[in-house]
Subunit: 133 residues, 2 copies
Amino acid sequence: MLRIYVIDTSGKEFNILFARENQWIGDLSTPAVTSFYLDAIEKSIVYSVSNENLNLLTNNFSTFVRYIKKSYIFLQRRLVSILSNTAEQNYEELVRLHPELIQRLPQYHISSYLGVTPVFLSKILSKRARKKD
Amino acid sequence: MLRIYVIDTSGKEFNILFARENQWIGDLSTPAVTSFYLDAIEKSIVYSVSNENLNLLTNNFSTFVRYIKKSYIFLQRRLVSILSNTAEQNYEELVRLHPELIQRLPQYHISSYLGVTPVFLSKILSKRARKKD
DNA sequence: TATTTTTCTTAAACTAGTTTATTTTTTCTG
DNA sequence: CAGAAAAAATAAACTAGTTTAAGAAAAATA
């Protein structure tokens, strides 16, 4: 399992994207704009595509177009969620759409993905647990 | 000038993207996922591309790839800003990167873009004004 | 220009989320 | 399996952002 994250000016990390088996992950922006870091959360076998080969793909096939279109939609959806929902709602959505991530990732990676502190996610979870009684 | 926005479950609008003269705007997601609305903020002349023609572009040329790549990077950057900055910092960034939007749009469209209430943006502005004395 | 409508500001009480510190639980390592 | 290290929970004091409501300013319209 891999993740892409950024570090903001205050040194805090934010997870942007996770990748599981057989998934593509990458960053299309030029390094100048923002620094994205790629990190293996679990032991992984990774194949990489050189920039030249990526350009060949880009120019000749619609695979890349489909990939980036999908990524775009995913990102857009995430932006909308983060703009319009509370962290609690976003957590529920994550449980609903990607339960396997919650099983597999340590809590602090989830909180970083949701854009809240680990402490606050823990609060959300204990509230959730109380509710289920 | 155009905008694309969503309406969340509680009926609140969030601006996702603005388009000025000679810019492309659109939504790639299928209607099933989320409803995006397109709205002209000022009197505009708009040209549209049919889905079939868009597919032709997509398959044969790299124009579309460049466009979507750029959009993706823009969106990603916005997500990072919203995750890691306060609304005040995001406003300053908007002033720095897109001052023309601030001139041109009513304040409530800006606040909706930043993901805060108009009331809170007004607070930010008055604080800013006090600082400049 | 007077009037109506829309946008913006201000204030006060509230809720969501942060920070820091301490304790408990879980996981890793010898 | 004991001890160390890492992750998670809890609490308390704080800050960022919301909500509601009322008034002021600006823009549109007659």
